[in-house]
């Protein structure tokens, strides 16, 4: 059996999500190769070749793949997929965008967001916002899978020496053009990669009050997140959202402030190692998952907390 992992990268380096996906691919068994599709992405391909246990790295370097346009990259993956039994990608916004298109081109299902590999054709995945875990079996001859990154510990980034092969095929569907990207400028770590996350909910009352989290985040080197309620209320942008329909995080320390703990939110953070909840409502469901709960008014507790750390 052979598995192709689709690398998440920025042309220069590979992202940790790739290493989580390789871990899932290894759980499937058999050979694991990595595809790096991008533009001037040789450095990323060389980095992928360092991942131990990888057979070879396929590098598709072309302007058509510059911004991971799903229309183009899906044609490439479906083309390369002919030699593989499984195609695996991390369930990042890129993976979620491209992989269903790949599956449809191959006329197979996609198994989304798996959290475990039970056997080469059987997987566990959360459904209904994480209220239920389904065990599903794929009957397709080839499997297209996206991986919930927090559920698979990343493999080592270095120590291997796979060969890098150029893929010459150029697929430009001519359907879409990249216009611009606004990457949130921040000195803070990325939400899904941070070892500490501090999130605010509806209890923050407005967007300005998120400043109360910033001083703490600066001191702890934390990323700032939010519940869906806070996003819905317009306090912060959607890319802050932690939850089943937002980002899935599993940091060493997760601090939930003014968050009641809707199942939607819990689905996105309950695999964190230590969970702290600060909420003035002592019956808030968040306390049922918190290792340390503090029943307090966040507007007094947060400045105290910032001063004490």
């Amino acid at each position: 059996m052979s598995t192709l992992v689709i690398a998440e990268h920025d042309n220069a380096t590979i992202k940790v999500a790739t290493l989580n996906a390789v871990a899932a691919a290894q759980a499937l068994g058999g050979d694991v190769d990595i595809l790096v599709a991008g533009s001037s992405c040789d450095a990323a391909a060389q980095a992928a070749a360092q991942v131990p246990g990888v057979g070879k790295v396929l590098c598709a370097d072309n302007a058509a793949y510059a911004n991971q346009l799903a229309e183009n990259v899906s044609l490439l993956i479906a083309d390369v997929a002919a030699s593989y039994d499984n195609i695996v990608a991390p369930a990042t916004t890129n993976g979620k965008n491209t992989m269903p298109r790949v599956a449809a081109l191959m006329n197979v299902a996609q198994v989304s967001d798996i959290i475990s590999v039970e056997s080469p054709d059987t997987f566990k995945r959360p459904i209904y916002a994480g209220n239920v875990i389904a065990t599903v079996q794929s009957t397709d001859p080839k499997k297209v899978i996206t991986v919930r990154t927090t559920a698979f510990d990343p493999v080592a980034a270095e120590g291997g020496s796979a060969s890098v092969e150029e893929v010459g095929a150029v697929h430009d569907a001519g359907l879409s053009t990249f216009i611009s990207e606004e990457v949130a400028e921040s000195d803070r770590p990325e939400l899904t990669a941070a070892s500490v996350v501090i999130s605010g909910g509806r209890g923050m009352q407005n967007g300005d009050n998120f400043q109360l989290l910033e001083g703490i985040a600066d001191k702890l080197g934390a990323a700032i997140g939010a519940s869906r309620a806070a996003v819905d209320a317009g306090f912060v942008p959607n890319d802050y959202q932690v939850g089943q329909t937002g980002k899935i995080v599993a940091p060493d320390l997760y601090i939930a402030v003014g968050i009641s703990g809707a199942i939607q939110h819990l689905a996105g953070m309950k695999d964190s190692k230590i969970i702290v909840a600060i909420n003035k409502d002592e019956d808030a469901p968040i306390f049922q998952v918190a290792d340390y709960g503090l029943v307090a008014d966040l507007f007094t507790a947060l400045p105290e907390f910032e001063a004490a750390i």
């Binding site: 799903a70 959360p126 209904y128 009957t139 001519g174 359907l175």
Partner: protein
Amino acid sequence: MKALVAVKRVVDYNVKVRAKADGSDVELNNVKMAINPFCEIAVEEAVRLKEAGTVEEVVVVSIGEKSCQEQIRTALALGADRGIHVEVDGRVEPLEVAKLLKGVVDQEQPSLVILGKQSIDGDNNQTGQMLGALANMGQGTFASEIKIDGDTIAVTREVDGGLQTLKLNLPAIVTTDLRLNEPRYASLPNIMKAKKKQLDVTTPADLGVELMSHVVQLSVAPPPERAAGIKVEDVAQLVDKLKNEAKVIS
């Protein structure tokens, strides 16, 4: 131009869904059903395009048992013009939904297809992208803003770490994220009017699709419980625990 919007009947988002005791499936007897929230945002966006004069007709399609006509009527009450019900029994997998929608796209020839980014039951996040592949259309997934300009559409997408804007040739697929808009409530007169709007029923056979199964659900179970911890007295005790017990801050 014509906009096609796909809507799905799902368990209402306020319902806490549980696995049946025998683990065969989730308990769906006597639970409140509703239009999938992301699909509602899709309907709202299409109706706004019509109100702005960009779109002439909004057609809404749903795939499922007869009961999903309720959700089509909901969409019609929100301002869609006409409904199509593709009648299918039981669970239909995303790839098969995409094939049925491709059949509807072939018949209706819309310039724009708007879908929710995912349904809150299966949480697959697949159908729009699959339809894009089958219909050979560009896709703007997880959209937070769209602007139609002649025969192209600019879609701003919510991606990891920020926003990305793409330009797609029409016809194109858009899937909605939370912040695209805030759906309106249907007024009583519009609910009454919706009952008289045209709703056609079709079948997979009419659309030339033979349904297949690719993924079998073997069992369902509740997620592992996380043991509750302790309540601390004050901030000082919290910081002490984090430093000396959990050792997650120094």
